[in-house]
Symmetry: C2
Subunit: 332 residues, 2 copies
Amino acid sequence: SVLLLPPEHQHLRYNPLKDSWVLVSAHRMKRPWAGQVEKPPEELIPRYDPRNPLCPGNTRANGEVNPSYDSTFVFENDFPALQPDAPDPGSDQHPLFQSKAARGVCKVMCFHPWSDVTLPLMKKEEIIKVIDKWAEIVEELGATYPWVQIFENKGAMMGCSNPHPHCQVWASSFLPNEPAVSDRCQRAYYQKNGEPLLVQYAKQEAEKKVHYVLIKIKFPIAFLLFLYLYCCSSGLAAIMKQLLTKYDNLFEVSFPYSMGWHGAPTGPHLKEDNSHWQLHAHYYPPLLRSATVKKFMVGYEMLAQEQRDLTPEQVTHFALYTDQCGTRFWLT
Amino acid sequence: SVLLLPPEHQHLRYNPLKDSWVLVSAHRMKRPWAGQVEKPPEELIPRYDPRNPLCPGNTRANGEVNPSYDSTFVFENDFPALQPDAPDPGSDQHPLFQSKAARGVCKVMCFHPWSDVTLPLMKKEEIIKVIDKWAEIVEELGATYPWVQIFENKGAMMGCSNPHPHCQVWASSFLPNEPAVSDRCQRAYYQKNGEPLLVQYAKQEAEKKVHYVLIKIKFPIAFLLFLYLYCCSSGLAAIMKQLLTKYDNLFEVSFPYSMGWHGAPTGPHLKEDNSHWQLHAHYYPPLLRSATVKKFMVGYEMLAQEQRDLTPEQVTHFALYTDQCGTRFWLT
Ligand SMILES: O=P(O)(O)O[C@H]1O[C@H](CO)[C@@H](O)[C@H](O)[C@H]1O
Ligand SMILES: O=P(O)(O)O[C@H]1O[C@H](CO)[C@@H](O)[C@H](O)[C@H]1O
């Protein structure tokens, strides 16, 4: 029988955080690409733009004036997808046409007063301030809301409509689908194995010494965990700066991505035992072949199953780490 | 208590085919868009291009020469994501790093000999030939493979790399995630209610007379089902032509989308009772605001939950139908 060579032979890989499978067909990278080519990101972003509503001192859509902030700056999203006071649809519903109330808060958080920087270009001390603010916001909104989603859409390719470095925070009165699935998977694993899924995953990766990007830069995962335990925001800031600099260097472009944090559910769930949860971040980079050719998650992916054109191991060769779940790191 | 006004107040809607929830925040459409603008589709596509590997009489990447076909033309994908003979990864695996064999066949199906037509521009008789060929391929590959995914990625925006009108067929040795979830939901509903989920859904929509695009063009859903029962490919061809013409007219552009068919699982499942399954198609149109501004499924959507900026009812006003599951129609 022939030996499976992952870059040559398609196969399925399990995503334990979603309890689902990914089709890995790495030989697909050999096909020529005559499809859509993206515009590379704008290179000349002014440090200050008088018309940009995220810059210090400028007036936003609702007439409010931003302070002349010199670090992070958090404000309520002027076009929030979630508002605190939406009415309830009521309960007289056909089971196939159910709807439920959704309440929440959407905030925007600027990382820096300058529009022409990104996280990897910021100083470690500045990134620490971002991380500390993340922790503060989760604590504040998580006191009542069951889920606080911090996420960054970076780059026009990822639907970001403002080049100023920023992320968003959407807190909701409900536990959204993705964390609900991840909660279920982590809980089941913990109940069976007595240790969190992601901690065992990390240990395995450290042992195999193949997957983890930070191994390459001398942070085995065990050390990463340790690091955060003792150094807190500072260790994470260093790791984020390294990861994102690698992204930028890969195709020599300010690398687009969507990223976000997944921690244990909050609000009413704070009273529950959440030992199965391991706080972690997901990074989803869209670029596949170059600065201008992305991976399209379309027909087969939408209708049948996620499919990837590179193995995680090959991506490690590109000096960044990604697995079935996207790029990921976690801390405790 | 305030009444919920769906275009004004965010709320959650249930997607019964996925047993998950969608955040509907229609007021988000009011926010200004300064983000990415797509190139409108190329307008001048030559009817015949000597370098296009999908045109009649041309030579493909593997050296094979296409016949001078005058209707549909099916051939093996020259860069298949699934091949019939991939090796097995073996079973000695850590539960967190499982992989499985994936085998299959990928085919490409040209709809028409001309590159400058699309389904809505084709004659009804020509569309019938496409539908009949779909049925033939599913029967052929479904004899052994448990899942045969027919899908069309239309337009560069949906990752299509060749303007010639075509779809793809990927048959696999496994039941992919999406149909596996849909199978589970339809089965549970059927066991509880004794009628297929989608048939009850269709009846409800016909009763409410609000959702279904074809109601507007005098095909209530019941009639649609009836139509297909008696007219087979011909009725479906008429409906497809109407739906896709509506898409094209919406923003006066050759409308991009990904679409595909979901029928009961095949191969070994042919022996099972599949009364819970209702054959149906999903259409996923990416455009939101205009021919050049799409809806980005990014940070919040990838990390937390699907979110839409328009209610299904509003989309009906745009003369096309889409619900939490994308645009959809089904037949029996
Ligand atoms: O097969 P194609 O048209 O080259 O490729 C397109 O469809 C595939 C199936 O949805 C996707 O995996 C690719 O990312 C997309 O570019
Ligand atoms: O809030 P923004 O940056 O205007 O919007 C962006 O992120 C949102 C959350 O992921 C998405 O729903 C939008 O489609 C995207 O364009």
